[in-house]
Amino acid sequence: MSAQTRKSINISLAVFSVLAVIGVVCWILQLTKGLQMTNLGTTNMWGLYITGFMIFTGVAAGSLFFASVPYLFRLDEFKPYCRISAYVGAVSSIVAASLFIIVDIGNPERVWLFITSGNFTSPMFWDFIILLSYMVISVIFTRQLILVHEGKKDEKSVKPIAVLAFAAGILVFVTSFVFSFQTARPMWNTPAQPLSFLLAAFAVALAVLIILAFILNKIGYIHMPVPLISKMAKLCALLLAAELLIIIGEVLVGLYPGAGGEYEAVSWLVAGGGAIRFWLEMAAVVGALILLTRQASEKGGTILFGAIFAFAAVYLIKSNFLQAELFHPLLNYAGPVMYGDGAFYYIPSLIEIGVSVGIVSLGAFLLVIGLRALKLGE
């Protein structure tokens, strides 16, 4: 590792730790005053934290999946970068995904009940098991890859764990069951959702890995050729395009009847309280598609911006997916005022944003620690 690379790593460690500390301060504030510090309410009881959970579970699953693919399908050119991808899945994103749940629940000190009193019929419990399995699989996988890199192990020995990582990645569709199994939520309760979750998870994981590749290239930690990154970009675009088709389908299916619950929710999304963010979502998807599929320049700057757009697109897709449904419950007759009533759309509070930035920074901090301490580079 060059001195320049080491310096960049140290600076980023300092920045991420400051941001993580700010996140902790925000969380302490939330713990002392309660979830009233968020902009959530009785109707929209889930928000930014759950969106963060969806995204980072997706990143964990996707990065595990993409770390396994080169070993299963003999894509030798990608193999030197698999360790980084496996580590992103092993530590950073799993920690981030778990913390997004921890900060969302009212009584984090009771989280051990997941172990002592887990309810096997609850999709959220299944998610807990899956996250645990990701953690185990990806730690073993990362270690195996490092051993192979050091020449202490044969490449063939990686195959069994790579198969597991591949399967675990696909299992991210179980995450969608938290939402898609709920008959009380018609917009989520469709067979398209598990597929949509899978597409979004892999797309956002690729977006993160592409951004990471650019940063690590820039500081000289790796030297990944732009044509290779471009291949990842094209796959990311393909996944996003499929996701876009599902969204267009959902919107048209909802609008066509011209009345009724689903029509109201979709109209709110495209022309009501949710419109600004829906059209931003569309702009981000289309922008990402254009930038990711354009002929890359020598330095590949368009790809980097495309990946940033893709990340924003998936965030907006997940956030809008949540809010459009929550703001349109099956029973919405007028009644006594409940906590949080009167809101027509949801914007996260500063505390929520602070906590979320802190969580992502902690994930990034752990990533940089890994980059420094483990042999993840070339």
């Binding site: 979830l35 997941f114 019929t121 609850s122 419950p329 029973l331 906590y339």
Partner: protein, 206 residues
Amino acid sequence: MRYAMAIDIKKCTGCHSCSVACKVENNLPDDIWWNRVLTVGGENMDTPMGKFPNVKMEYLPINCQHCENPACVKACPVGATYKRKEDGIVVQDYDKCIGCRYCMVACPYSGVRQFNWKKPEYAIDIAMGDKDVTKHQYNTVEKCTFCVHRLARGEKPACIETCPNRARHFGDIDDPESEVSKAIQGRTYFKLLEEKGTKPSIYYLT
């Protein structure tokens, strides 16, 4: 044995007495309502549906439906909400609730489950309600209990006794001689969102 409730929509005048009785009996914190009387069709509470002069008032009292197949019980990751085997009442264990609000997401009867977003605060300084009511907890979800503390003493839920029009009936739906079974006999009724497969225990008489 399975407890059930019948609410006669024809008799309900939307006086909100049941909501208030519930609020007082269970010493509900500010912003929390286990039992609400919704106004059907009107834009705001207690406003009519339709356009003048063709207006109509209709109410829908709503509390936890104590479903036979409760979506909340399936959803709760830690089993903090469960159905009592002996009488079918769906209860919430405050000491176990982690506050994830997944039950609120899963319940089709929006708003019957409510969350303590802040430390419970009360409109007056003196605690109201029955001494046997479980203490409310910060950061937990709560809801109608069919007044289990009263049932334990052989009394009916507070909303049943308070309703001035006797629009509410309660009892064991498995017993043909119970008040609720008799109230349903010969009447047409509907159950809320029955198509969702939750098998609610509240019968709305029409």
